[in-house]
């Protein structure tokens, strides 16, 4: 086993533990912190794939900006919300849901993971993931999606201010 494989396995295990923590920890603050762990580890996986720009964006945007918003809302709502019970193993619907989920996972494994198991990459040029390449692409080839993203973000800002200022 090479060092790259060891590094990937360590990162994948940490990311999966973070994801499990988000779903199964009772306190919302602990869920948020394990989501931060998951995001940072995923940024490392992006670096490993050679996408430096998106790894940085992942850490800055997700682990920085979005999680701060989550933690603020949790802080405001926290005193009102009792800790919930996530042990649903006794519920019969949950067992059926688990069976359905296992079916979907088996289908995806059969039709996606199995065929790609022997696919290895050719040489991946490291400069493809650089900020320069992404900026150049966004201002030439993908300029309309870029403008649409800008309008969407503006709408998000205006909409959240509307929701915050309105008196019910």
């Amino acid at each position: 086993m090479t060092l790259n494989q060891v590094a990937f396995i360590i990162l994948a295990v940490i990311a999966l533990l973070g994801a499990i923590g988000v779903v199964f920890l009772k306190s919302p603050v602990r869920s948020a912190l394990s989501l931060v762990i998951n995001f940072i580890t995923l940024g490392m996986v992006y670096f490993m794939l050679g996408n430096q720009m998106l790894g940085i964006a992942q850490i800055v945007v997700y682990a920085g900006a979005i999680m701060v918003l989550f933690l603020f809302v949790i802080m405001i709502l926290r005193s009102q919300h009792p800790e919930e019970d996530t042990s649903l193993w006794k519920d019969r619907r949950f067992v059926f849901g688990l069976l359905g989920g296992a079916l979907v996972v088996a289908l995806i494994y059969n039709f996606v993971i199995q065929p790609t198991q022997s696919i290895y990459g050719a040489e991946f040029d490291r400069s493809y993931g650089s900020p320069q390449a992404i900026g150049q692409t966004f201002f030439t080839q993908y300029v309309y999606p870029f403008e649409i993203i800008s309008v969407l973000l503006l709408l998000g800002v205006v909409g959240s201010i509307m929701l915050a200022k309105r008196k019910f």
Binding site: T2, N4, V23, Y120, T137, I149, G156
Partner: protein, 126 residues
């Protein structure tokens, strides 16, 4: 120490790890996220699980983009890598806007009803 660092060449990642490993990680994260959306009652945690699913999709976009042999545009790996990365940036922007508006809605519901539980939010029932 420097010797160890020299054994991490980036080009070798794609030779030593198959595409299926990254897709499997993405699949597991998406499954955990959808499970959380279904079983959690706190809407903030439901939003976190939606973020988890969006990140799983981002990971599969990026892994397909950086394994050019697997994509349709195998003859133009630069175009395929750029298509995947710009899609991921779109998803990130949409996630940011969605979180801002969604958490605003949760706060508005909280101010209106003084409690937030997704099982009790049924005032829009037709």
């Amino acid at each position: 120490m420097l010797n160890i660092l020299h054994q991490f060449p980036l080009a070798a990642v794609h030779d030593e790890i198959p595409l299926a490993a990254f897709l499997g990680l993405s699949l597991a994260m998406f499954a955990l996220g959808s499970l959380g959306v279904l079983i959690r009652k706190n809407p903030v945690v439901v939003f976190m699980c939606i973020e988890l699913m969006l990140n799983a999709v981002n990971l599969s976009f990026l892994s397909f983009a950086s394994y050019p042999t697997a994509s349709v545009a195998a003859r133009d790996p630069f175009a395929s890598a750029m298509a995947g990365q710009s899609m991921v940036i779109c998803v990130m922007a949409i996630a940011a806007a969605e979180v801002a508006v969604g958490l605003g809605i949760i706060m508005a519901i909280f101010r209106y009803r003084n409690q937030v539980d997704v099982d009790d939010m049924n005032t829009m029932r037709g």
